[in-house]
């Protein structure tokens, strides 16, 4: 342990948030070391070659949440990052009739009655109007309701400025369940279900659960254009940018513990036994892991330990990756880029029911993204990645090979019914149960968002009130992963806000 090292900021986790923080800190002239446990960078955004010649560009396949302004600030365009010009077409397949086709920005919908198109436009219009106010709230640290009045009044004013009707509608929707919201807005059950599916991602809830409307709302108002090449392209650009600013990136460097001295960070100890002295750690792994595993509840104030123990992170999402010898296509031969199964709100709800009883849905609901040709698969071939709802991390009796294969079979069967002939194109598949996700990506509870998106685990309460503004009661320790405001998914926002909080504290 050498003295001069102590001015280093150690970033735990080389996922998209860790790398984002590293870029901003290094850009500000700080000495940064990123420690990534795995051999590849990117975390849930990392490119995964799951069969020779076939690579999935990230476990998260929805890149709509990465803000253009942040990409600009990070200077990622210089490293090859580009947004797609055209939004992805999302197909909502339905048995025995034309699919509904949505574009990912909700600018258009087809395959429904004209009256429904108008209702959809109204719904979309509401999102468009409340979007800026919500984005403003989600793009900055969450004000603390018992803290300074000014940021609170500011946030209140932004909402007031929406006008009476939209403001009341917003307040009405926030505590609602997605199913009721969808039923208020639309009449086509297939469209309702297709739009509602993201509401249940990363939350222990179904579309009937109160609060799921907010999850959907926040997700949709922060969505923009997708990134060309998927999540992996984002990671590539972040790695280049970080290195360009002089950050040191170390892979294969899992951390065992964070050492404290007199209530402050003193360094980190790697699993190899190596010790790194530092007075600042910016941790982007999940907060339960940071406090309960890497530090230990016995070294924390009781309230803090209890708050972290109470953070709910019950994984319900599994991942299935398919290597296909042809593009994924519907019955009529239409190739699809993105597809959501689950023909009704009840179908999604039933899948969640299984997770409630610590089992696995036998009719899972899939959110599928297809990447065709180079660099993902041999030319003419494709890779389909599916987020599969719902499979309980805490499966009764635990997860074994049989359970994993059954989950894979069920997912393929469900997808086949929308895309006949799928089995014939199947070259290989990889199934990751929540338990696999927990092991491979070091996720507490196998939870892909580092903690459920629930109304009490957002804003100034994410992951706990004492840690929600990135700094923590442990001197020198900052949080900056998906477990922090504004939450999980590919946004890079928690990492960026954490880095800024760190810089502001100096």
């Amino acid at each position: 342990m050498s003295r001069e090292n102590t001015s280093t900021v150690v970033v735990l986790g080389g996922g998209h948030n860790g790398l984002t923080a590293a870029v901003l800190l290094a850009k500000a002239g700080r000495k940064v070391v990123v420690l990534e446990a795995r051999e590849t960078f990117g975390g849930l955004a990392a490119r995964e070659t799951f069969h020779p010649g076939y690579a999935a560009p990230g476990l998260h396949h929805d890149t709509r949440g990465v803000r253009a302004a942040l990409v600009e600030e990070l200077g990622l365009a210089r490293h090859g990052l580009a947004f797609r010009k055209q939004p992805t077409k999302i197909h909502l397949a339905r048995a025995g009739s034309e699919p509904i086709v949505l574009d990912a920005l909700h600018a258009s919908v087809s395959g429904v009655a004209q009256a429904e198109v108008e209702r959809f436009a109204q719904w979309r219009g509401f999102l468009g109007r409340v979007g800026p106010a919500l984005r403003a709230a989600l793009d900055r640290p969450a004000p603390e309701p018992a803290g300074e009045l000014l940021p609170l009044l500011e946030a209140g004013l932004r909402v007031r400025r929406l006008g009476r009707a939209d403001m009341l509608e917003l307040l009405r929707i926030l505590p609602m369940c997605a199913a009721d919201w969808m039923r208020d807005a639309l009449t086509d059950e297939r469209l309702r279900a297709g739009l509602a599916l993201p509401a249940v991602e990363g939350s222990f809830s179904g579309p009937w659960s109160a609060g799921s409307a907010a999850n959907l709302l926040f997700r949709e108002v922060t969505s923009g254009n997708e990134i060309e090449g998927g999540a992996a392209a984002l990671v590539d650009a972040l790695v280049k940018a970080a290195k360009g600013f002089g950050a040191e990136l170390r892979h294969g460097a899992p951390v065992r513990s964070i050492s404290l001295r007199a209530g402050r960070v003193a360094g980190v100890v790697l699993e190899s036994g190596e010790e790194l002295a530092c007075d600042s750690v910016l941790a982007t792994c999940d907060p339960k892991q940071v406090f309960l595993d890497l530090i230990g509840a016995e070294r924390l104030p009781v309230d803090l330990a209890q708050d972290l123990e109470r953070v709910r992170a019950r994984g319900t999402t599994a991942v299935v990756r398919l290597a296909l010898s042809a593009p994924l296509a519907l019955a009529d031969g239409t190739a699809v880029e993105a597809l959501r199964t689950g023909e009704s709100l009840d179908a999604i709800e039933r899948a969640y029911d299984a997770a409630k009883y610590r089992t696995v849905a036998s009719e899972p609901v899939l959110d599928v993204r297809v990447f065709t040709g180079k660099p993902h698969a041999p030319s003419g071939h494709s890779v389909a990645t599916a987020l599969v709802h719902a499979a309980a991390f805490a499966r009764e009796g635990g997860w074994d090979d049989d359970a994993r294969e059954k989950l894979g079979d069920d997912a393929v069967r469900v997808l086949s019914s929308a895309c006949p002939g799928l089995e014939a194109k199947l070259v290989a598949r990889e199934v990751l149960t929540p338990a696999d996700l927990s092991r491979r990506y070091r996720l507490t509870g196998g939870h892909i968002h580092h903690g459920e998106h629930a109304l009490d685990q957002l804003l100034f309460m994410r992951p706990s009130t004492a840690t929600a503004r990135y700094a923590t009661p442990i001197g020198g320790l900052f949080l900056g992963g998906s477990g922090s405001h504004p939450g999980g998914g590919l946004t890079c926002a928690p990492g960026a806000l954490a880095a800024k909080a760190w810089l502001a504290s100096r």
């Binding site: 309701p145 018992a146 009490d456």
Partner: protein
């Protein structure tokens, strides 16, 4: 022709309370009740000779103490008998009784978890602290966050102040209380299912939600409000049945000069221009008043009483989204002898409180899953009381009344609500079978059985969709959003028409708060 200051449509506890407060302020008031008895859903009826059932609402929970004092209800016959303990019987084993005595409760819980036992009192204290914050919210009209009126802003700030004083962590606790599911909230404290299941059910009563549905935790607070109300015996039976609550309010109203008519169904509003000027009865009689106050639910008010042409489309749209999915049924049994629970055979204090059929969280959640998909629960949650153990006026000596509140019985069956009459007896059988498993021999002691489905509650009691609270008590339908944004202060888009039922703030239950608050609002606004 006489012109009243106010005509109140519906003689339930809220309508009567509103009448009493208006009459007390010197206004001339007429209450019109469709049925032959007063009380609405807070009613006592002799359904079988000698047996008086609290047909719908069966316990007095949150009747506001201020109303008891203001209207001097004890002088008008109100007497509340305590409901002291809560028994959760089990098929095997002793089940769980929560007693008013902390030590005994601790021993009961310690059978299942020593840790839970030692934590239970602390839970109660934390709940009482949170309940303290909620109390002013239900005792006052809701502030309107969309209003820029200085008094509304001031009220918001005033209600907001104690919240800010809680500190971030305290506010987080409150947010959890408001948004978590009862199951998740209890999971933060306790490990034993035998304890958590009966505690969680207070969060789902009357709602179309399960114990794992987010936002069910906060109703548990109500259980801790009695302690801080300054009213002893806040939870209990009303002597003579729940109808006596209504009757005592009616007597108070009459003592203040209000006029009450039964078997006087109102057909529609009497309009003068686009203002309400009175009502037209079903028999064609026209009655005039300066204001008409509806205590029936918003759906009934604005579809039956008022012609749609008088309502702005925005309001009609908002009401079309107002949710009233009824979810509960009632089975009233007249018994030849007391039931014998295998958990704890024989008579005893443990069956003098409420008896909750809630063996586990998963059991309750499965009961909800059935309802979600349009079926009544194959194994329902049942809340049983035996009021005859404390009130001998209700049944012949030695005979008993067993009142069973049942969830879930969704109004919207998959086969349509109108198919309920075909399912009524099967539903009754399910309830009795469920109880028979816990108290074998019950079936043979049943003298009479009354099964009330949500369909029946709609048909017989005028509760739209059989919703006992005049609208679901979900967050988006409470406070300034109940029943619709901009109309949470008891006024309606029709001049001269007001609301005072459970479909207004602070909502359902035998609280009588909406009736009181509506009367106060009308007086303050000089509406009459």
């Amino acid at each position: 022709m006489k012109q009243y200051d106010a005509i109140i449509v519906g003689g339930g506890h809220n309508g009567l309370a509103c009448a009493a407060y208006l009459a007390r302020a010197g206004r001339s008031v007429l209450v019109l009740e469709r049925r032959h008895v007063l009380g609405g859903a807070a009613v006592t009826e002799e359904i079988f000779p000698g047996f008086k059932f609290s047909v719908c609402s069966y316990v007095v929970s949150l009747l506001r103490p201020q109303i008891i004092r203001d209207l001097e209800l004890p002088r008008h016959g109100l007497e509340i008998l305590p409901l002291e303990c809560s028994f959760a019987p089990a098929v095997d084993g002793p089940g769980l009784v929560r007693w008013p005595d902390a030590r005994r409760t601790r021993e009961e819980i310690a059978r299942y978890s020593a840790k839970d036992a030692s934590l239970y009192p602390e839970f109660g204290r934390e709940m009482a602290q949170l309940a303290r914050l909620v109390k002013p919210v239900i005792d006052e009209p809701s502030p309107d966050p969309a209003s820029l009126h200085p008094t509304e802003l001031l009220r918001l700030a005033r209600l907001g102040k104690p919240f800010r004083e809680l500190g971030a962590r305290g506010i987080h606790q409150l947010v959890k209380m408001m948004t978590l599911s009862a199951a998740d909230f209890l999971d933060e404290w306790f490990e034993s299912d035998v304890l958590k299941a009966p505690m969680s059910v207070s969060g789902i009563i009357g709602t179309y939600l399960g114990v794992r549905s987010p936002s069910t935790a906060y109703v548990m607070l109500h259980h801790y409000m009695g302690e801080i109300d300054g009213a002893m015996r806040a939870w209990g039976f009303s002597r003579g049945g729940t109808g006596e609550v209504s009757m005592s309010i009616a007597r108070a109203a009459q003592a203040f000069g209000a006029e009450i008519r039964t078997e006087a169904p109102v057909a529609k509003l009497l309009m003068r221009g686009d203002e309400a000027a009175g009502v037209v009865l079903a028999d064609g009689t026209e009655l005039r008043a300066r204001v008409v106050v509806s205590s029936v639910d918003p759906k009934l008010t604005f579809t039956r009483l008022v012609d749609a042409k008088y309502l702005p489309s925005e309001f009609t749209h908002a009401l079309s989204r107002y949710r009233l999915r009824g979810s509960s049924g009632k089975v009233n049994l007249a018994l030849d002898a007391l039931p014998e629970f295998t958990s704890r055979p024989g008579d005893g204090l443990h069956i003098r409180g409420d008896i909750a059929v809630a063996p586990s969280i998963d059991y309750l959640e499965r009961a909800y899953d059935d309802a979600k998909y349009g079926k009544f629960s194959r194994r329902p949650y049942i809340n049983v009381v035996l009021p005859t153990l404390t009130d001998s006026t209700l049944a012949p000596p030695g005979k008993h009344i067993m009142s069973c509140f049942v969830q879930y019985a969704p109004y919207h069956l998959a086969t349509g609500p109108e198919s309920w009459p075909q399912h009524r007896e099967a539903f009754g059988d399910t309830v009795v079978d469920t109880l028979e498993e816990l108290a074998p021999g019950l079936k043979n002691r049943i003298l009479h059985r009354q099964v009330l489905t949500p369909w029946d509650m709609e048909q017989d009691f005028g509760l739209s969709e059989g919703n006992i609270f005049h609208g679901e008590l979900s967050l988006e339908q409470l406070a300034f959003l109940r029943p619709a944004a901009g109309f949470a202060h008891y006024q309606t888009p029709v001049r001269g028409l007001w609301m005072c039922g459970s479909g207004t703030h602070p909502g359902g239950g035998v609280m009588a708060a909406p009736g009181k608050l509506a009367a106060e609002r009308m007086l303050k606004e000089r509406a009459l």
